[in-house]
């Protein structure tokens, strides 16, 4: 398998990382080398093997459906790039 420049731009868009035309080839070559390493897996027979998502076979814990944390939105918004009236500001998304 070899990635194309178009693949790089497609993945970069999915990941929301801007990659300009000048760096795309270097990114492509490095990703290709990484996938050459990863592609060793293709030859392994995994018929009937249950995928392992986690180290411990424990079910996620559920807590009671009650108030557990105090409201601290002011503290959390203090580190935001742009807020107003308790809202996070982003570029206009609706015309």
């Amino acid at each position: 398998m070899s990635l194309s420049i178009a693949d790089v731009h497609r993945i970069a868009h999915l990941a929301r990382i801007e990659i300009d035309a000048g760096e795309a080839e270097e990114v492509r070559a490095k990703l290709d080398a990484i996938f050459a390493l990863i592609n060793e897996l293709a030859a392994v027979d995994t018929t009937g093997v249950e995928p392992m998502a986690h180290a411990q076979d424990v079910t996620l814990a559920l807590r009671d459906d009650g108030v557990a944390e105090p409201a601290a939105s002011a503290a959390y918004q203090r580190v935001a790039p742009s807020v107003q009236d308790g809202l996070y500001l982003v570029p206009k998304v609706i015309e």
Binding site: L37, Q56, V93
Partner: protein, 504 residues
């Protein structure tokens, strides 16, 4: 008071209790040493002298009041991936260069409550993605044994700071070897606990099914003391295990005679002793195994047929989880935001292009690809299946042994820049460490020799889930019989002649 050298936690605790010096004197002495040596090592991203001295005064008050605990007054530092409300949490990234966390990581909170003195936050590979601590936005960390070399990574700042005797202990996180490999390359001890033992609450997430916090120190005994404070159930981490409290130092007391490891079976996977291992590393491991046999342990050959696939499995699963975790850095709620953009999508793309370094971007792209439509089964599901095959190999191996031993890394430290442009070459440093993250089992590294250039070599000890006390016991018995862990780099004498950054 002369500039201090950080002793082991056990020694320093004894000295503080005996009032040989106060904690304020100790802390000031270490702050002086940090001020002297950190410019050459770049081990710290943030140093907070005022706060450290306030902690030290509180510790002295605890000693005066007679309610000191095992870690009271012990100077430590946290890897800058642990959120702390008291000082910025950068994760080694431009993305979080000025991030002030509203909360403390659970393990940081536990160590604070245990009475430790927090000196600062240590440098690391950006978002813990690396094996050399070179990718930090704040510049590379340098190995105290030779500043032209890397200290290992990603927790290289904590490892270098403990190795240079700037602090008595430190924290790190280990997703694929990021505690054990820098411990090996810096000549100290580091432990990755069983997944779920230490809460991940407040660790900047890299790969959630693999990340685990753990301690660095000079000795196995010190690791046990730190782990005693760091472990414990935390409902804020849904994968934190709710188990009865355990004293990880319980097996370390007493001498047990000349053969304290009688009955301990050490497995030697043939896959860990093959081609690709530096001859000096192989010789040092061989000598260490001889020492363990002399202490009463028996060695048995074992096979881990699928462990050679651990690196490819890891480099699917870790980037996949990272691409998901790091999607939160969007320039909206915290962290860097690009200064100019055309619309919301473009703001995300520019923010992330500017805020992340090259290796972090690569891993996000790999993860995005393996999770994308049409590739999920071939990559992500396949990797999870092979992960189970690897876990099965270890489960079978532990039927015939208690501990698995081998090198922590295939070579001693490499030169700064030597592998920086070759990601795959860098990934292969983790060839012996990633399996423990995939299985979730505990593993540690302890010093066991030096290579021809005088750089330290680490012995890795792995155990089955919850075998920390046994691993620490084997390491402690080894350290009672040897003195590799007492070797420290001679930085004080060489400081004056260190060339400035970029000239080596």
């Amino acid at each position: 008071m002369p500039a201090m050298l950080a002793g082991s936690i056990t020694e320093v605790a004894r000295a503080l209790r005996a009032k040989r010096y106060s904690c304020v004197e100790l802390t000031q002495g270490l702050l002086d040493r940090i001020a002297q040596l950190n410019p050459a090592l770049n081990a710290f991203i943030t140093i907070d002298a005022e706060r450290a001295l306030a902690d030290a005064r509180a510790a002295d008050a605890a000693f005066a009041a007679g309610n000191a605990r095992p870690l009271t007054g012990i100077p430590i530092a946290h890897k800058d991936i642990l959120a702390s409300a008291a000082m910025r949490t950068t994760c080694g990234s431009k993305m979080l260069a000025n991030y002030a966390s509203p909360f403390d990581a659970h393990v940081a909170d536990l160590l604070k409550r245990a009475g430790t003195v927090l000196v600062g936050k240590t440098n690391m590979d950006e978002f813990a993605m690396g094996s050399s601590s070179e990718t930090s936005f704040f510049g590379p960390v340098r190995n105290p044994w030779n500043t032209a070399y890397v200290p290992g990574g990603s927790s290289g700042g904590s490892a270098a700071a403990v190795a240079a005797r700037l602090i008595c202990g430190g924290t790190g996180t280990d997703t694929g070897g990021s505690i054990r490999q820098p411990a090996a390359l810096s000549g100290i001890c580091g432990l990755k606990p069983t997944y779920g033992i230490c809460s991940r609450y407040g660790l900047v997430a890299f790969a959630s099914s693999l990340d685990q916090a753990g301690p660095f120190a000079q000795t196995a005994e010190d690791l046990a003391l730190l782990l005693n404070a760091m472990a414990g159930h935390d409902p804020r981490d849904s994968t934190s295990l709710d188990r009865p409290a355990e004293d990880y130092a319980r097996m370390l007391a007493g001498s047990r005679g000349a053969r304290p490891l009688e009955g301990v079976r050490i497995g030697l996977p043939r896959e860990y002793f093959g081609a690709g291992i530096d001859a000096d590393v192989a010789a040092a491991i061989d000598t260490a195994l001889g020492e363990l046999r002399a202490l009463g342990a028996t060695t048995v050959d074992i096979a881990l047929a699928n462990v050679k696939l651990a690196i490819p499995v890891y480099y699917v699963i870790a980037p996949a989880e990272a691409s998901s975790n790091l999607s939160r850095f969007d320039g909206v709620r915290y962290g860097h935001r690009a200064s100019s953009y055309s619309d919301l999508d473009n703001m995300y793309e520019k923010t992330r292009a500017e805020g992340f370094g090259a290796e972090v971007k690569r891993r996000i792209l790999v993860g995005t690809y393996v999770l994308s439509h049409g590739y999920y089964d071939a990559y992500y599901l396949k990797a999870q299946q092979v992960r189970r095959l690897i876990a099965g190999d270890f489960r079978r191996a532990y039927q015939s042994c208690d501990v698995i031993a081998g090198p922590t890394a295939p070579t001693a430290a490499f030169r700064i820049g030597a592998k920086a442009d070759d990601p795959v070459e860098m990934y292969l440093n983790d060839i012996f460490t990633v399996a423990a993250n995939l299985t979730g089992a505990p593993a540690m590294s302890i010093p066991c020799g030096f290579d021809r250039s005088g750089l330290p070599i680490g012995l890795q000890l792995q155990g089955d889930a919850f075998a920390e006390a046994t691993l620490l016991d084997v390491a402690h018995r080894f350290q009672r019989a040897t003195e590799w862990h007492q070797r420290a780099p001679t930085l004080a004498e060489s400081t004056g002649s260190l060339p400035p950054e970029g000239t080596q």
